[in-house]
């Protein structure tokens, strides 16, 4: 989908066309969610942040100064809302990536998927062992579709130039945790 299509969808959504709005949600819903999760919000708070972000976009339809930069606007809005929620909540409900993997892996899956599911659960558990900064960066990078480094920079207030080196360092640490958890082949090569 080209940027032109996003701008067109924004214009059509502003005119009330639900299908165009749905395409925007489909395209960026995962990104907004990943930003909320990267700030380690629990599911309820992440859902609130996501909804507030989209509601705010509705109010700003037709008012965006740079509609071609919608993804950056969404990321910035979601990030600010995350910070608001984190700082205003009396009790923080933090994201537990390892816990997510544990609870969801408990559900009995079809046999053919057991191995893959165990492996992906282990991957999530290994991410959960990383320090805050690495967890945050990797969670944003894990968004579908993959965010640009410009998006990541916007979301996490990191210079674009530091994302690559930090990513390499965090993935290096992740490989060590994976090795401890019994996964020695990750990312298509030995670790």
């Amino acid at each position: 989908m080209s940027e032109g299509t996003v701008v067109e969808d924004l214009a059509r959504a502003a005119a009330g066309e639900q299908a165009s709005w749905d395409r925007l949600v489909e395209r960026y819903g995962g990104l907004v969610w990943s930003v909320a999760r990267s700030y380690r919000l629990g599911a309820d708070d992440a859902a609130d942040v996501s909804q507030t972000t989209w509601l705010r976009l509705v109010e700003h339809l037709g008012r965006l100064r740079e509609p071609e930069r919608l993804s950056a606007w969404l990321v910035t809005t979601a990030k600010r809302e995350c910070l608001r929620v984190i700082r205003s909540r009396s009790r923080e409900r933090t994201l537990d990536l390892a816990g997510i993997a544990r609870t969801q892996a408990d559900e009995p899956p079809p046999d053919a998927h057991v191995m893959a599911l165990e492996r992906s659960a282990t991957l999530m558990a290994a991410v959960g062992r990383l320090g805050d900064a690495c967890q945050r960066l990797l969670r944003v990078l894990m968004a579908s579709p993959p965010p640009s480094y410009e998006m990541v920079s916007e979301a996490l207030e990191m210079p674009v130039g530091s994302i690559g080196p930090t990513r390499a360092r965090c993935l290096g640490q992740l490989r060590k945790h994976l090795a401890e958890l019994g996964i020695t082949q990750a990312g298509g090569g030995s670790v």
Partner: protein, 172 residues
């Protein structure tokens, strides 16, 4: 980015292709174990029902001050007390709306002040619809209102004025 573990064993050459592949695998894992809940996407799609049909009749009041992020005293992470209050100010060129939001169990209590002071009709909106309506008094005071936690926005209509004020959505 700071206070992360420093990789003292470094020095190994970075294999970017292997890193890309590992990240792809992580992305798949996240889509299995931490996918966007269907309800969250459905709510996002439903948000469009709040679209302003005629933007000439509504003026957006942006969030101009937020005690939970703007107050230097609470900027130092971990130094803030378990604050159960936040002060929010929304502004247009001609109107400002001060809100005090207090945590009341699972819900929230709002109190507010409009400027210019005066009687106005107020709708408090949550994602699912208008949750409560109220009226400010001659001094512009908004009475205490109990509202659910979550996304919230106010629509304020001064009598005799064509254009209503709508605040930015915030999570309370």
């Amino acid at each position: 980015m700071s206070n992360d573990e420093i990789d003292l064993t470094g020095g190994a050459p970075v294999d970017e292709a292997a890193d890309d592949a590992l990240l792809d695998e992580l992305r798949t894992a996240a889509s299995v174990h931490d996918a966007v809940p269907a309800g969250v996407l459905a709510a996002a799609r439903a948000s469009l029902t709040w679209r302003t049909i005629d933007s000439e009749l509504e003026e957006l009041a942006g969030l101009a001050f937020d005690s939970s992020t703007d107050d230097a005293r609470v900027l130092v992470r971990g130094a803030a007390p378990a604050a159960d209050e936040q002060m929010l100010t929304f502004e247009t060129d001609r109107v400002s709306v001060d809100l005090l939001v207090t945590v009341r169990g699972e819900g929230r209590r709002l109190m507010g002040q409009l400027a210019p002071a005066g009687v106005a009709n107020i709708e408090v909106r949550s994602a699912s619809g208008v949750v409560v309506t109220a009226r400010s008094d001659e001094l512009g005071r908004v009475p205490a209102l109990d509202v659910p936690a979550g996304p919230l926005s106010l629509r304020i209509q001064y009598p005799g004025q064509l254009v209503a004020i709508v605040t930015d959505w915030v999570t309370v």
